[in-house]
Point group: C2
Chain length 395, copies 2
């Protein structure tokens, strides 16, 4: 790799400097902010002793998440991967099934499929949203599947294709209506991976509430955090009940008896973490507003950066701009890496998109469609510092 | 069921009253206590923003756990079930294997086996320890297994038997040396379920450090709590490294790249929860000392309670007495339930042992040995209020 800083790398760093100023201690990619009732609620857990599986904050957090997203139900769990695992199980996905996911996603999207004993099946993304491409999906399903007794069959592997998991990349909503239409034509359930998109809307409706089930993540790098945490969203009361049951060891309610009637999981979110989540949610709108100010500033300044394109929210969408991103107009892994190395050296924490999932050794032999756009995006996307507090610096 | 309070039920409640006094708001089974640096450490996480996957408390908690248990390594994870799941995977347990576990255990012991795609295989417990019976185990393995190319084969099911999971019931150490000898004779690895036995020693050595791997739990009802949490203990550095890797998405270290090379898990303990754990560990000795005072008092007073036998730590063992327990000298589910109902009505939270795992519908068809002692224990064990703070009331 040629390590000479390209003019592009200088341009990149100079734009970051223009927006954020000189990094004294470095600007990290995304920092959480605890400026509200976090102390108060967490201290209350410690003072009352309710830190674990029982306590009011889990219920309260679930209520607030449902209210905010306008999902009928939210079930809080220990993290986004756990949420996705249970959501897939609830859609009947099991050993030997294939599940359609984008190759351009965090590894958890594929791992959750593997945790069900199922096999990821990769389909291409679109530049319009950075998420699953409805047209590529439809074309691929037409070419490689057939209706069979047990459902949709992959004619190449003979396995059942059992679901589709679109993911809202960096918070930008996918074309969910179109994806649901394709899924409907092929009889597939849709589990929406909204891990990154709390506060993102597609045509005015919150992401994660379109599919049969949706999931959220509250990891430390997300727009709100519970330390570690996640949630399952659904409008189906029976699925919500089942999600709660499966994530809390499937214990039948009884005054003292321990009777469990299904193989289930310990995926409950502790009350301590839910308390943090309640406080974080109270300030979410303010956090998102400041993140948007930062985005506006980036958008403006990157306009004059030749060779770089600032990634904007898709049409008809309102994005949370979880992670702001730029794209190299000429995709190149080596050019991308020079930008990453130059910016990180200069104190601006930047990262590429994830290594495409079909390139990871454990998923390399999984079935897949042609993935030209995902390849292009992998070689061009760079995430830049996106914490809400940076808005103040960028005024 | 005959609901007439037996004289035994009156005796039971009167002993509880004699030890604890009259319950004003009720005495729960086991409450956590936050009387040390809990708030200080948790507040530091919130103030610095390090609540999630990065931060000093996870490392610190792991170091302190290793020091306390004298295990060479401790790997903190999100809960005890997750710890057990990973420990089993690290022992090579996979789909179609059978794993020997006691039928008298919490459902998580069986669930973790099922999460590997493996099948629980139940063996009897002994009255001496309430845990796996080494003699019953040896006899059962002799009668029902044979050495085969892939390892030990269950001659009835044809499946491989791939490991043994002894569990230290209510904190009382099992006969781990004898179990290890039997395991050694049959070539089986031992994964020690020490979820309930932090602070319990067998012949001066901490439980969870005898087997190839051991696990701990820090759920809200345990002797220390992190809200939800667990740990894997091992003296094998390579297993410890692998445990950390598998519980943190198997990500190869890199300045920015996302490259993962195994199907792995998001089982990391958040820093916020580890902070609580660090503070809790600092006061563990004090907590255990007070719990022991309470136990002494129970032991003394139950001596005069005809028909009831107070469960004491096994020979050569030092138990944490996580949950104090009594046994009905004449086992009877209906008599047990009358005691439970009378005591709970009177404000003393009591519970039976778990429903035997082989009686739960999802494990009813799993292979099993004769289980006469487990059956007897199920119909006779009752746990009684065991929080450390009760020691003060019982003076």
């Amino acid at each position: 790799m040629d390590n000479t800083p390209l003019p592009l790398a200088s341009t990149f760093v100079s734009v970051l400097q223009q927006v954020l100023g000189a990094p004294e201690k470095g600007f990290s990619l995304h920092e959480p902010e605890f400026a509200g009732n976090e102390w108060k609620y967490v201290k209350e857990c410690i003072d009352t002793g309710w830190v674990s599986s029982i306590g009011k904050y889990v219920d309260e957090f679930e209520r607030c998440l449902a209210t905010y997203t306008e999902a009928k139900h939210a079930v809080a769990v220990v993290n986004g991967t756990a949420a996705q695992h249970i959501a897939l199980l609830l859609m009947g996905i099991g050993p030997g099934d294939e599940v359609i996911i984008p190759s351009l996603s965090f590894v958890a999207t594929a791992n959750a499929v593997a945790h069900c004993g199922a096999i990821p099946h990769f389909v291409d993304s679109t530049e319009r949203t950075l998420g699953l491409d409805p047209e590529a999906l439809e074309k691929h399903l037409k070419q490689t599947t057939e209706r069979a007794a047990g459902g949709l069959r992959n004619t190449l592997t003979g396995r059942r294709i059992a679901g589709i998991v679109p993911m809202h990349t960096f918070g930008h909503p996918v074309e969910i209506t179109e994806l649901l239409e394709v899924a409907g034509r092929f009889g597939l359930p849709v589990i929406e991976d909204a891990a990154e998109s709390l506060g993102s809307y597609y045509q005015g409706r919150h992401t994660g509430t379109f599919g049969h089930l949706g999931i959220l993540s509250f990891n430390g790098n997300k727009v709100i955090t519970t330390g570690g945490g996640g949630a399952i969203l659904t409008n189906d009361s029976e699925l919500a009940r089942k999600a709660k049951y499966l994530t809390t060891t499937a214990k039948r309610p009884h005054r003292w008896e321990f009777f469990h009637d299904e193989i289930a999981y310990n995926y409950r979110l502790p009350n301590l973490n839910a308390a943090l989540g309640c406080a974080q949610l109270e300030r979410l709108e303010d956090t998102l507003a400041r993140k948007r100010q930062l985005t506006e500033r980036y958008r403006e300044v990157f306009q004059s950066a030749h060779g770089l394109h600032f990634v904007e929210e898709p049409k008809d969408c309102h994005s949370n701009y979880w992670l702001n991103a730029v794209r190299l107009i000429d995709p190149s892994m080596s050019a991308r890496d020079i930008l990453l190395s130059t910016a990180n050296d200069a104190g601006f924490q930047c990262r590429p998109a994830w290594t495409l999932l079909h390139k990871l050794p454990m998923y390399a032999s999984c079935p897949r469609a042609e993935l030209p756009t995902a390849e292009k995006l992998e070689a061009s996307l760079i995430n830049i510092p996106s914490s809400a507090y940076l808005a103040e610096l960028s005024r």
